[in-house]
Structures are given as C-alpha cells and as structure tokens.
Symmetry: C3
Subunit: 279 residues, 3 copies
Amino acid sequence: MDFNKTAEIVYGNIEKVKPVIHNISNIVAVNDCANVTLACGGSPIMSDYPQEVEDITSLCNGFVINMGHIYDYLVESMILAGKRSNLLGHPVILDPVGAGAAKARNAAIFKVLDNVKFSVIRGNISEIKFLATGSGSAKGVDADEKDLVTDENIESVIALAKKLSKKTGAVIAISGETDIIADDKQAYIIKNGHAEMAKITGTGCMLSSVLGVFCAANPENILGASAVAVSAYGYAGELAYKKILQTDGGTGSFRMYLMDYVSKMNAKLLEEGAKVESR
Amino acid sequence: MDFNKTAEIVYGNIEKVKPVIHNISNIVAVNDCANVTLACGGSPIMSDYPQEVEDITSLCNGFVINMGHIYDYLVESMILAGKRSNLLGHPVILDPVGAGAAKARNAAIFKVLDNVKFSVIRGNISEIKFLATGSGSAKGVDADEKDLVTDENIESVIALAKKLSKKTGAVIAISGETDIIADDKQAYIIKNGHAEMAKITGTGCMLSSVLGVFCAANPENILGASAVAVSAYGYAGELAYKKILQTDGGTGSFRMYLMDYVSKMNAKLLEEGAKVESR
Amino acid sequence: MDFNKTAEIVYGNIEKVKPVIHNISNIVAVNDCANVTLACGGSPIMSDYPQEVEDITSLCNGFVINMGHIYDYLVESMILAGKRSNLLGHPVILDPVGAGAAKARNAAIFKVLDNVKFSVIRGNISEIKFLATGSGSAKGVDADEKDLVTDENIESVIALAKKLSKKTGAVIAISGETDIIADDKQAYIIKNGHAEMAKITGTGCMLSSVLGVFCAANPENILGASAVAVSAYGYAGELAYKKILQTDGGTGSFRMYLMDYVSKMNAKLLEEGAKVESR
C-alpha cells in the first residue's frame, strides 16, 4: 500500500482510539516519554510498582518496556506487566537500552525477552546486532561507529533484521541516520531524522514511546504503524532543526521544538517530508 | 473577604516567608515539581529517603505528598515525614494520584490517609470520588469522562467535597475544567485553566506543589490560599496557551510558557484573569 | 598560564576526546545532567545499578557522583564505580548535595569520601564548610545566608578550600555569587553567573556534570579545566538572562536558554565574558 495512505489510516486510528499506554521507563527519560506520548495523541501511565503493574496494564491499550534502568523490581514489573499484556493481546514494545554494554544488563534483557512476546523491538544498530548475535560492541548507550548502517552494508543489515524478526516474532526497528524497519518478509528504509537528535538525551527512548502509541492504535498493521511512527518522529526532528537555525537556538531549544513538531505532526504534514522506501 | 484582597495577602506572605517545601514526588514529575516550587516563590527539597525525611521536613515550612509512585520505602517516608510535619504544625498536601486505579495503590493511599493529617487533598474528580466513597471508575491517572463536573451536577460535587472535608479535616481541591475548592462550610468555584494543560504530563502534580508553597506561607487561611493558588495556576495556563498561538508553538512550548507565567504571576496580574465564585 | 589560552586548550581537548561520562545522579536533576553533558561536548551514561556500574564506568572517561539521593543501593553503586574509576585513573567528581542537612545524609557522604578519591569536590559554601569542619548550618540544599562569600571573608574561604584540598587531594570548587576554585596551592576567583540560576532546580548538579566532561578530557590540568568549566557555565547563565529580558521570558525560558548557551559556548565566546582572577 502507498505510504501516504498508510499514514492517513494510522493517524486516523490514533485519533479514534486515543490509546492509553503503559510505560516502564528510566529516570532519565521518563518525563520526556510521558510528554511525547501525549504529544503524539496517546495518554501515558508510567507505573513500575510490581504490586500494581498487572492491574495498570489491564487499563491500557499497549505497553512499552524501556530497559534504561534494570533494578530487580523493575525487571520483575516488566515481566509481570508484559505477560499480562500478552494475555490481553496488547502490542508490547521493547527498547533494549545499552544491550551489550554490561553483563548484568545483558542478562536482564534476555530474561525479559524469554518471558514476554514483543510486537516491536527498537534499538540502535549495536543493540540490535547484540540481540541477534549475542555479541557486538556497544559503546555504552550509543551505537559503535563501526556498526553504522551504510549503502554498502544495508542489505546485510536488512537480512539481520529479518532474521531477528523471524526468531522473535517482532517487527525490528533499527534507529540511526538510516532507519530500517522490518518484519521477516518486508523492510522499510527511512531517511528522516537529523544528527542534532543525538545531542539531546532520550531521543531513542521517546521514539519507543511513540511506537507504543502508533502500534496500540493500529494492532492490525504493526509494520506500517512503526514505519509511519519512525518517519514522522524523524521528520519532526528535521523541522525542529530548521527552527533552531531560524531562532539561533541550541540544544535546549531543539529539545522543545522536537516536542512541538511531534505534537503538530499529522498525515498531511508528514506527506511533505517522509523519505521512505519499501522493499 | 474580597478575592483580590485575599490574593494580595497570600502573595505578600509568600514573598515574606519564602517557604521551604519538602516534596516526596514521583520520577515523572519531580523535576517539574521542583521547578514550579521555585517559580511560585518557594524553595524545594525533594528528599524521599526514609532515614533522613524526618530531619529534612523539620527544616521546612510545608510538605507535599505526591503518590504517583508508591514503592514501599516511599510510603514509609511519606508517613514518617507526614507525622513529623503534623507534630510541627506544617501544612501537608496530599495528591492521591490514580486513586481507584489499582488495589495496591488504593491500599497505599488509605494507609497514608490513616497516618497523616492533611491541610489540603487535591485530585481530579475520579480520585476525590474514590476517596469519598471508596468506589469509582478511574481511567488510570485521568478522570473518567462520566465523572466530569457540569452545571447539572455541580451542587452534588460541592456537597461531596464538603463531606470529605468534614471527614478528613482537609480542604478539598478538585481539579478539572471547573475547579472546586471547599472546606466543610464554604466552597470556591474556579473557571481558570485551559484544556492544553491536559496535553503535558504533571500539570496536576505541579499544582499540588504550588499548593504546598501557598499554604505553607499562609497557614492561617488554607482555604483562601488554595483558591488563589488554583486560580493563579489556571490563569498561567491560559496565558501560556495565548503565547503558543502567537508563536505557533506545540506542547513543548506550552510547557515552558506555563512555567514562565507561574514565575511571573502575582496578585496584580491575577486580578485581570481570576474567574472565581464563592458560595 | 593565561586563562584564555587555558580555555582554548581545554575546549580543544573536549572536542578531541569527546569524553563519555558516567553519572550517578538524582531523580530531580538526572535528565538535566544528561542533557548538559551532551551540550558541553560529552556523552552521558546515567547507570546506577550496583551489578553493572563497574562494567559501565570502565567504558567511560570520567565519573560524576551526585549525592542528591542516597538510597543504600545508590551509595553502594557510587563506591563500586568510584573505586573502579580510581583504579583506571579516571577523574571523579563529587557533588555532596545537602551535606550538613541530615545525619543519614552526612554519614553517606563521609562513607563515599572514605572510599573514593576525588579529582574535584564541588558544592555551595555551606556544603564545603561542612566537609572541611564537620559542622555548619545548611539550609537544606541551599547555602545558609550567613555563610555567603563576601569581599571581607574571601581570604578565609580560600584558606578553607586550600586546606580541604590538601586533606582530600581534590580540587575544591565552591559555587556562589563568587566562585572559588582551589587546590592546595593556587586559587581562581570567578565572578561569572547570574542570580536567576538559583531560580531553577539542578543548576549546581548540572555544573558538576559539566565538570565531569571538562576534567575527563583534561586529566593533566584538573584545576585549569575546572576554572574554565565554572566560568563558562556561569557566563552561559549571564547570556541566558539577557535572552529572557529580550523575550520577556520567565524561569521556564531561562532554563532552556541556559542549556542553549552551554551548547553554544566555546573558548572564543568565553573570552568575551570570563571574569576570572588567579591568586
């Protein structure tokens, strides 16, 4: 289907459903994740207390697990709410922050993956490579430069994504200068976004929360909804960068304008800026 | 007394006392709550460690308990510092976030209510209804639409607030399109505020922190100070909305301008915008 | 050496090294600390989970311990990662938030000081006085007014800083209207900054994170790098204040512009505004 038509349907469903999204996030990005959930048309609940997360997630339409922080009680809450979400058929998103960076972190991530079935797994190329192969070279929370997606290696990255999708049943979303969104059969290559997004914290975490909204309102088309979310969020970043050039702003202004443009984005505006290729 | 005259006294006392406010908040809104405390003339301390909260609250003029997060150690800290504040005669504010949404949450909230005496309890209509009746239909952290205050049901909502005030000894502040502030005898009906405030996270949490500042500096007039706080905060929201229309901003800009106008608000500016009725 | 020349070298090294900085921060300021780390040219990792902090800090170039929150597991993580950083020779910064304000807090701070060797200790005058003398009168997280640095007592404050530097081996950075940066031999007196910085939360915490970036990229000149960091951050505050006067902004705008100017600051811009005296 035509991408613009897909975007129209995806945004229409968000407006209709106004999905309530349960997020277990990290202390760095949790406020930004709640605000971006609202900005793109959802309603956030950020509960992470083990004794209530099953009740809470039952009130929601989707669930986002962000593994930026991995205290024992958080991992317990992720699994409890994840299993409940799976039972209820809610889309569940995984953001495996820093996969590969430390042993305890890797163990926590694989424990969550073993217990919860995901609709989307979103990370940078180093994180996704680590999940796919069990090895890799994360530079902490940022992608390693030698992992970056280029015109030369893009086919092998798509193959890696499709393979991980087949193994996990999830749509795989790889974030970077070029984004790859793939299930086991089909892939979108997206060239929206701006380098300035790496100069503020939590842009990846926020995108995972945005994916929660888009997928919860469009459970029948997780791949399409994910591609629209990634393209729209990236285009918002491009518009925010234009705005700081006009206002002589820095990274503080950029952060605000990114939120502004996520809140103003819609299918019509996206049509002007989407850089999406399907294969 | 005339509302404008009350506002003048209330703001004057804040400037004189510069109250230091102890907040136990949640990871989503804690930064916004600290900043809004500063913006409206107070000084925040956000400590929640059980072993120090009694010492900390003893250095302060008031205490705000926000139950957005309810880990066991937080509830322990809330009760320890709440009891100490009661002993010292400090105004204590309760924000029973999500009351009614989950069993463990409800139990934690009633435990705090059983152990601490409050000067003000602030929540949305669903939360307050749940506290008053022990039942209700919270939609997570937002009010249920069928609970909303209208011209038709406003008298019964005021009666409910007065009854809960009589039972708890606290001023009851119900937030929504129409705000109700009541003790067991008198009520203020306030029509300030803007729908855009529901499009950013933590606006309710921030209002509870603002109430902490206003009440700590005006312990002799908790009802009046609460009404001024609610009207002033709502009017700041209206001015922030005007500003984003002028600057073509989105929810990111709105959040910043809300803080700007809270920091610029005073009795004189409020006089131009207060929409307050007393009965 | 000439201060402008030092600033040029210090900024040059940040650009060359792009230091990755491990921060253990507090829930109030952690997002601001991550963003300011990026704004001044570093890359932040905010991990505080005991089981991974040694692995994480090994991936980094420096480590910042902010004691705004002192849960047991946080103090454990601070000590584990601090010892590992010491072994690896990474610069380690201490922000002893609220030293003197509560017994449990003081005990935690001294425990960390006993176990970790610091390159820089940064606090307000009340916090530093407490560390130096074991007594003092912190007003919670703000400096007590009767402790403030004046032209009359500046020599005795410098002597105190030099003495604490001799005892700890760390550069001592005292923040206030006048900043003192000293090792056991030499001191910088810095008059940059603006009173508006006290009207937003986390400005001290953010400065400690900035010090992490500057020192990690300049381990051979901790005193000089600290002086440049403090002057640059203060000057960014002055420029942010000018900007809110132009735009009729409040504390919300000030917070954003402060981040903007930290991200735009460099040796050349600093040359126009540095108010630094060495003795």
